[in-house]
């Protein structure tokens, strides 16, 4: 029976192991980067949701407080906006009529440039 030499076997195993481990670690790092990015996006969207809700309630409140037939209303965001976020301004907008609701389009822009929007209906008080 012919005997094969084992010289260099460990080296080959170690090289293969390093290559596989390297690929796995690279994949893990990519997953971590994706997780971090997604986590930030998720946090921004949650903040955007809070901003939209606050802005929607402020808009409804402004219409109730400022609107009479033929008048206009403006909405101020309650408090300070978180850094990097922006909202669509509502200024001197015509009040809704007595017989219908007015659909107001509210948008918030998150720091990465994505926008989230909601339509709300407001009526003359």
């Amino acid at each position: 029976m012919r005997k094969y030499s084992e010289a260099g076997t460990s080296l080959v195993e170690i090289v293969i192991a390093i290559v596989i481990l390297g690929a796995v670690v690279a994949a893990l790092m990519a997953a971590l980067v994706t997780a971090t990015t997604s986590s930030k996006a998720h946090r921004d969207f949650a903040t955007a949701d809070t901003i939209l809700r606050s802005y929607a309630e402020a808009t409804k409140s402004s219409v109730r407080a400022q609107c009479t037939p033929g008048a206009t209303y403006s909405v101020a965001y309650p408090g300070a906006l978180p850094t990097g976020f922006a909202i669509s301004a509502i200024s001197n907008k015509s009040c809704p009529g007595l017989s219908d609701v007015q659909v107001v389009h509210l948008t918030v822009t998150v720091p990465n440039g994505t926008t989230k929007a909601i339509d709300i209906g407001v009526r003359q008080p």
Binding site: S10, E13, A17, L32, A35, H42, S99, I118, G121, R123
Partner: protein
């Protein structure tokens, strides 16, 4: 003789360790793979939850807007509704907002006060429009609104007062 035995044992041990590094790598790879899968599952779940919550918010504000529409329409009616019989066409209003079709069912719920005045109250139930009347479970917002007339003999609405406004889901 003793030296030959030792050499033999060393060679056997050496042969037994063949492939050990690869097995270790495969084990490590599986562990790290499971960790990555768990991480990505968490992130995906979070983003999916966000989308669901956005949908709930849109539905809530669509129901809110639809009830506002119904209130606006009802106050255009005299009394509201002839002899308080109905509160609108088929006692129903519909509106789509934020991509959600909402149905509002209304019913007159007049109340006679202790002083003998008739309070003109209307109850509204808003739910996602699936072609049937809003059930308790499906109702997103339920509101009761008082429609005030200029006098006890007048049918013209001059003020509306929201008496209750509850968001159910």
């Amino acid at each position: 003789m003793k030296r030959i035995v030792l050499m033999h044992r060393w060679r056997r041990a050496s042969r037994d360790e063949a492939g050990a590094a690869l097995i270790l790598v495969i084990v490590v790879m599986i562990v790290i793979g499971l960790m990555s899968a768990g991480l990505m599952a968490g992130v995906t779940s979070g983003l999916q939850d966000r989308a669901v919550l956005d949908g709930v918010r849109n539905r809530e504000y669509a129901a809110d807007g639809a009830i506002e529409l119904a209130v606006t329409k009802v106050r255009q009616l005299a009394a509201p509704g002839a002899a308080l019989a109905t509160c609108g066409p088929s006692n129903r209003y519909q509106q789509s907002l934020d991509g959600v079709a909402i149905r509002v069912d209304c019913s007159n719920v007049p109340v006679l006060t202790r002083t003998g005045l008739l309070e003109r109250d209307v109850s509204f139930s808003a739910c996602v429009d699936v072609g049937v009347a809003c059930t308790d479970v499906a109702t997103v917002i339920r509101a009761q609104v008082n429609f005030e007339t200029a006098s006890s003999t007048s049918a013209t609405i001059v003020h509306t007062y929201v008496q209750s406004w509850s968001v159910n889901q």
